[in-house]
Symmetry: C2
C-alpha cells in the first residue's frame, strides 16, 4: 500500500465500502455495513466513513485508496462472485498497484466446492481463482467466492462476499481475531434501555444533566412512536466498559424508574410475554384501530402461546358486540372510539377467552373518519384484570401507520405496568 500513503494512518479508525450497482437504487439498502460496524465498534474501532459504489473497477479502486489514506481498517463487501459485473478483485489490485494472478490451487478448491453440492463449476467460476499478489485468501465455507485479506504498513484491508451469511462467516472466522489483536484490549460495549409510553423531548429534559457526566457521545436516544431506546456506550477494557455501563445504567434508572421496561430487548412485547409466562398468567386482546398489530407483536415472541390465548380483531361495530360482548347501548351512546367501549372491549375479551388479563384498543387511525370532537389520532385503550380496569386515551400525531404504531406501544406499556404493579 505504499503508493497510497499520503496521511498517517489514524489508529482505531475504520471505513466500509459496499460494492454493487443494485445498492445504489432506491429499492435496496446496504445492510451488511450495519453488521460490520457493530463488529468494528465492539473492538473499539470508530467507523469514520461508509460508501456504496457501483460495479466499476475505477470507483472501487478509488474508494479503497481514499479510505486507506487515513483509516487503520477498511472493509469491502460484494463483487467477488463469478459474473462479469463482479469486479472487486480487479478494484483491489488496482487500488494497491498489485498484480492479479491465477491460482490453480484455489481453482481446485472451488471445483471441489461445486462438486460437493452436485454441480460442475462453470467456466466463469475460474475468475474466482484470480488472486491479488501478496494477499491472503479466505476460503468460503458458506458459499464459493473466496475473500481477501491484506495487511501492510499497520493497516488491514478485508474483502468479503456481499451475500450476508458468507460475509458473516468470514467476519467470525477472520475479522474478529484480527480486530481483537489490533484493539489491544480496548473495546466498546453498548447497553440499550427500552422505555414505553414516554415522549422523547420529555425524557431528554429529565436526563440531559447526565450528558456531561457520561459524555454526550455515549448516550443516544432512538425514539419510535411510543417505544424509546436509550443506547448507552462505554469504551475501554472489557472490565472498564462493563463497569462504566453498570454505573450509567444505575444513574439513568434512578431518574427514569419504572419507565425503563427492560435492557437489550427488541420490544415491549418481549417484556410483557415473559412476565405473564413466569407468573402463569394469560392474556387476550380486542383490537379495533390496530387491526391485529398488538396480537402480531405478542406472537412475535417465541413461546408466546404459553400466555397469549388469542384475541378478536373487532373492526366492525357488529364484531365488537357479537364477538367481544360490547353492549350495543355503549356503542350508540358513546361511539366506538370512547373510553367506555375500550373498557368493555378489555373486559369482554377477557371474559370470552377466560384469561387473567384483557386488553382493548379503539381509535381513529385516519386518514378519514375524524370529527371535531374525535379527531384523527384519538385512541382509547384499556387493560382489564380481576382487580379492575385501567383506561387511558391520547391524541397521537402522524399518519395512519404512525398512529397505529403508537397505539401498539402504549397499550403494551400499560399492560406491562399493570402486570408489574407499577405506576
Amino acid at each position: 500500500m505504499n503508493s497510497t500513503t499520503k496521511r498517517n494512518v489514524v489508529k482505531g479508525t475504520a471505513g466500509c465500502v459496499a460494492v454493487g450497482s443494485e445498492l445504489l437504487g432506491d429499492a435496496k439498502l446496504d445492510l451488511n455495513s450495519l453488521e460490520i460496524t457493530r463488529t468494528l465498534e465492539t473492538y473499539g474501532f470508530d467507523v469514520v466513513e461508509k460508501r456504496v459504489v457501483g460495479d466499476s473497477v475505477e470507483r472501487i479502486a478509488a474508494s479503497i485508496r481514499e479510505l486507506l489514506d487515513g483509516c487503520e481498517v477498511v472493509i469491502v463487501t460484494g463483487g467477488l462472485g463469478p459474473t462479469a459485473d463482479d469486479v472487486t478483485r480487479e478494484g483491489v489490485a488496482l487500488a494497491l498497484g498489485r498484480e492479479l494472478f491465477f491460482d490453480p490451487e484455489v481453482e481446485v478448491w472451488l471445483q471441489e466446492r461445486y462438486e460437493r453440492v452436485g454441480r460442475t463449476m462453470p467456466e466463469i467460476g475460474r475468475s474466482m481463482a484470480m488472486v491479488v499478489e501478496g494477499s491472503e485468501i479466505i476460503r468460503n465455507t458458506a458459499g464459493s467466492a473466496p475473500g481477501i485479506l491484506v495487511e501492510e504498513n499497520g493497516r488491514l484491508l478485508a474483502v468479503f462476499p456481499g451475500v450476508p451469511w458468507e460475509m458473516r462467516s468470514m467476519v467470525e472466522s477472520h475479522l474478529k481475531a484480527s480486530l481483537e489483536e489490533r484493539s489491544s484490549g480496548r473495546i466498546r460495549r453498548s447497553r440499550t434501555l427500552l422505555m414505553g409510553g414516554v415522549v422523547e423531548s420529555e425524557v431528554e429534559g429529565r436526563i440531559r444533566h447526565l450528558y456531561d457526566r457520561f459524555g454526550r457521545d455515549n448516550v443516544t436516544i432512538l425514539a419510535s412512536f411510543g417505544a424509546l431506546r436509550l443506547v448507552l456506550t462505554a469504551s475501554g477494557t472489557e472490565v472498564e466498559a462493563t463497569g462504566d455501563l453498570d454505573r450509567m445504567e444505575e444513574a439513568f434508572r434512578e431518574i427514569l424508574g419504572d419507565d425503563v421496561a427492560g435492557i437489550n430487548i427488541p420490544g415491549l412485547a418481549h417484556v410483557v410475554v415473559p412476565a405473564l409466562v413466569v407468573s402463569g398468567q394469560t392474556l387476550a386482546t380486542a383490537e379495533s384501530c390496530t387491526g391485529g398489530l398488538v396480537g402480531a407483536a405478542l406472537t412475535d415472541v417465541p413461546g408466546s402461546s404459553d400466555a397469549y390465548m388469542g384475541g378478536v380483531i373487532s373492526y366492525s361495530n357488529q364484531a365488537k358486540e357479537e364477538m367481544v360482548g360490547v353492549p350495543q347501548e355503549l356503542l350508540i351512546e358513546h361511539g366506538a372510539v370512547s373510553e367506555s367501549v375500550a373498557r368493555a372491549m378489555a373486559e369482554g375479551v377477557r371474559k370470552r377467552f377466560g384469561t387473567d388479563w384483557g386488553l382493548g384498543v379503539t381509535g381513529i387511525a385516519g386518514p378519514s373518519g375524524g370529527t371535531d370532537e374525535k379527531p384523527v389520532g384519538l385512541v382509547h385503550w384499556a387493560v382489564a384484570s380481576p382487580d379492575g380496569v385501567a383506561a387511558r386515551h391520547r391524541e397521537f400525531p402522524g399518519d395512519r401507520e404512525i398512529v397505529r404504531q403508537w397505539s401498539v406501544n402504549v397499550v403494551l406499556d400499560l399492560l406491562r405496568r399493570k402486570i408489574g404493579g407499577l405506576s
Copy 2:
C-alpha cells in the same frame, strides 16, 4: 470548482453524501439518499456513488471534492443546523476553496423564522447565517437551516438539511427544476409488477429470455417471502419511456398472467381490499401462526373497514373451538396444524362474522413446536366463500419471522385469486 477539476464531468452521473456521525453507527440508516436517488433517477441521472461521513470538516470536504471530480450532480444532506457538530457549511467552503461570510440578511430572515413560532433565535443560530461565497441560499420553508446551491463548470452541488421534511421541501422547490433543465427531456421511469405466491427462481426462469430484449439492467426482481416485485425501468423522453414500459409490461404480463397482482401497489392487501370494496363483499379472518399479521396487513389499507369486518386470533386450541367454532374432534384427530382445521377456521370465522369470505391460517412458525411429521415451517391455509373452501399448504424455509411473512402473503394471494376467479 476549478481547483477540483481532474477528470471531465460525466453527463448524467450523480453522487450523494449524507453527513452525520449518528448515521455511521448500527442503529440509524441514511434513508434520505433513497428519496434523492429516486428523484435523480426520475430525471435520468445515474447515481454512481453514495457516502456517509461523520461530522468532520475534512471528511465532508474530501467527499464533495472527490465526487465532484466526475459527477455532474452532487447532493449533500445534513450538518446544516446551528450546533457545534453542524460543520457542512465549512466542509463545502473548504471543498470549493471559497470563503464563508456572515450574511446579515439571512440572519434577519432566520430571526423572523424563530419569531413566527414564538421563539427567540439563540446565539448559536447565527452560524446558520454563514454563507459560502458565490452560492445561492435556499430559504427553508419547513424549518430554519438554509440550504446551499452552487452551479459552476456545468456541475451542480446541492446541500440540504438532514431533517427529512426539510430536505423534501427543498428537493421539490429547487432540485427538481434544476435536474429537469439538465436532463434535456431525458427521464427515467419505472413500473412495479407485484406478484403473490411465487418463488423467485421459478419466476426468473420464466422471464429470463426477456432480459436480452429489454436489457438486463432494466429488469430487477425484489423478492420478500411470498411477495415478489418485478421493477421495470425505461429511459428517454416521457413519451418514449412510457411507451417502453407499456411494451415491457405487456410482454411480462403475457408470460406471468394471473400471477401479476397489480401495478405500483405496496402489497397484496392493497389488491384484496379494493376488490372486495368495489364488489360490495365482506371478509373475516381466523389466524393462528400469523397472530394478527393478516388483519394488520388488511387494516393497513385506508378504508378497509368497508370490507373487513374483523377476525379472531385463535392462538390457543380453546380459542379455535369457542371463538371460531372449529370442532374439537378435528383438533384431536388431525391436530391444530392441518388442512381440516384450516378449512374449519375459514368456514367458521365466515359464519361467525356473517361475511362473504372467510380466511384461515394455521402453522408452526418455530423455533420450537415442530415434529418429524409436522416440521417448523409447515403452514396450512384456506379461503371460504359461498362457493366452497379452497385449501393449500407448504413448508416454508426460514425463521419465525420469515415463516409468518410467507404465510401472510400466500394467504392474501389465495384470497386474491379466489375473489378474481383466477387460477
